[in-house]
């Protein structure tokens, strides 16, 4: 009986933590956005309202809002992908090439894994190496499955595991401004990326 009680207590405390956490985060966000003038407040539509934590290809833990101040080009992929992902990677590289040197430092290119179980930081790092994307401007992120699902929901990216190795997913490259607001989305593979490049250049100015 003692054991059950202990179990219930543990279960209860877990419950309390998981719910309070998100409220606390929201409060912190609310505080920073009303109090501090030094930091520009983020808008209601900013992805920096998401309280999720991510790990980079170098094993560093970051929050999305650490990316604040940069123009973001984001895409969701997984490294064991044979079909669409290499083309999405090529699309991202292509976009990066077309951004003028003067703006290059203002832009961060972000790949978010939809397969966090497989895509460990090591795997992401190898993927970056294979694709010659070891420069700081290329960022590879991995989160929890729940945060990944939530992030995809924000990006309107749909995905589903169709076999142990493969996912079916929407091919969307999203551009965010310095405040984390979605500005432009490019859907499809190998499509004309002129508009995406232009959106990035306009923001980086």
């Amino acid at each position: 009986m003692n054991f059950t009680l202990k179990y219930i207590l543990i279960a209860l405390s877990l419950v309390a933590i998981s719910c309070n956490n998100s409220t606390k985060d929201a409060e912190i966000i609310a505080e920073t956005s009303t109090e501090s003038v030094a930091h520009t407040p983020i808008s209601d539509m900013s992805i920096y309202n998401l309280p999720s934590n991510w790990t980079t290809q170098d094993g560093n833990d970051i929050e999305l809002k650490d990316l604040k101040g940069k123009v973001l080009a984001m895409v969701m992929i997984y490294t064991s992908c044979q079909a669409a992902c290499p083309r999405l990677v090529a699309d991202m590289r292509n976009i990066e090439k077309q951004v003028p040197d003067a703006n290059k430092d203002d832009v961060q290119y972000v790949f978010v894994s939809i397969d966090p179980k497989t895509d460990t930081p090591e795997r992401l790092r190898n993927f970056a190496k294979e694709n010659k994307m070891e420069d700081d401007k290329w960022l590879f992120l991995r989160g929890t499955e729940a945060d990944t699902r939530e992030f995809a929901a924000v990006l309107a990216v749909n995905y589903k595991r169709i076999s142990p190795m493969d996912f079916s997913h929407s091919n969307i490259i999203s551009v965010f401004n310095q405040g984390g607001e979605l500005v432009h989305q490019q859907e499809g593979l190998g499509v004309d990326n002129k508009e995406t490049v232009q959106a990035i250049i306009n923001l980086a100015k």
Binding site: A84, A153, S170, L189
Partner: protein
């Protein structure tokens, strides 16, 4: 040793039962099922889980909103809910309609956080579909005419969202209202990829498309389910809709 483990198991199952009753949840025994979008060799395994026997009501959602002010309609961030969020509510804490009708016009983010705050979560599509195959008597009634007719009749009935929870049939597991009042959010609603949705070059879910072809082949068994998948495929997480509510589930294992 054997006695001890049996005793432990007994204590655990007792706890789950108490837990289930306290929270108005019912046990859905796991198993395998053939989803709408599947093929013969693609049986999906569903682990046992506990499911709320009713959808979340207006009254329950008001309480949640009071405890979590960031979900008040005047506070909610547009990233997490569009303008139709709690559309019919006349203030932050007053709803229209009856108190024990299912809450509607809530976004996926709000529904998800509601469940998290109860120590629960939204069901996956597979869990929801699995529990919803049941009629009063059997766990999989999808080939029974009256089961399908019930759902199709519901689709033709207006404003069912304003009926009290529990007013439809109690299914095999003791769960109410999976069909008959509102559609419900699922955790992975954005895993539906429908061919012909207004997107270019999305990796097409050919199996799902076969599901729609089945309708043409006069197999009405899955028509109602196909409607649900099509609806899910058309939703975004910040959208809300008058005929969409939610309920929560929780894992059986600790």
């Amino acid at each position: 040793m054997k006695f001890l483990s049996t005793a432990l198991l007994l204590v655990f199952s007792l706890f789950y039962e108490v837990n289930a009753q306290n929270n108005n949840m019912a046990l859905v025994e796991g198993g395998v099922y053939l989803p709408l979008y599947g093929t013969e060799d693609k049986l999906v395994k569903v682990d046992p889980f506990l499911m709320d026997i009713h959808p979340v009501t207006n009254e329950e959602f008001v309480k949640f909103v009071k405890e979590n002010p960031r979900w008040k309609k005047s506070n909610v961030k547009r990233l997490f809910a569009d303008k139709s969020y709690l559309n019919s509510w006349t203030s932050d804490t007053t709803f229209t309609g009856i108190k024990n009708a299912p809450v509607n016009n809530v976004s996926w983010f709000a529904a998800k956080n509601y469940c998290e705050c109860q120590g629960k979560r939204l069901p996956t599509i597979d869990e929801w579909e699995y529990a919803a195959m049941a009629n009063k008597d059997v766990p999989d009634a999808r080939r029974i005419k009256s089961y399908n007719q019930y759902i199709l009749n519901w689709y033709e009935t207006p404003k069912t969202f304003n009926k009290p929870v529990g007013s439809t049939f109690k299914n095999y597991y003791g769960i109410y209202d999976l069909h008959g009042l509102v559609w419900e959010w699922t955790e992975d609603f954005n895993s539906v990829l429908i061919s012909g949705e207004s997107r270019k070059d999305v990796d097409k879910d050919a199996n799902l498309f076969c599901g729609s072809a089945a309708i043409g082949a006069s197999d009405l068994m899955n028509y109602a389910a196909f409607m649900r998948f099509a609806f899910r495929g058309s939703m975004k997480a910040r959208y809300s809709s008058q005929n969409l509510g939610f309920r929560c589930v929780s894992d059986l294992k600790n």
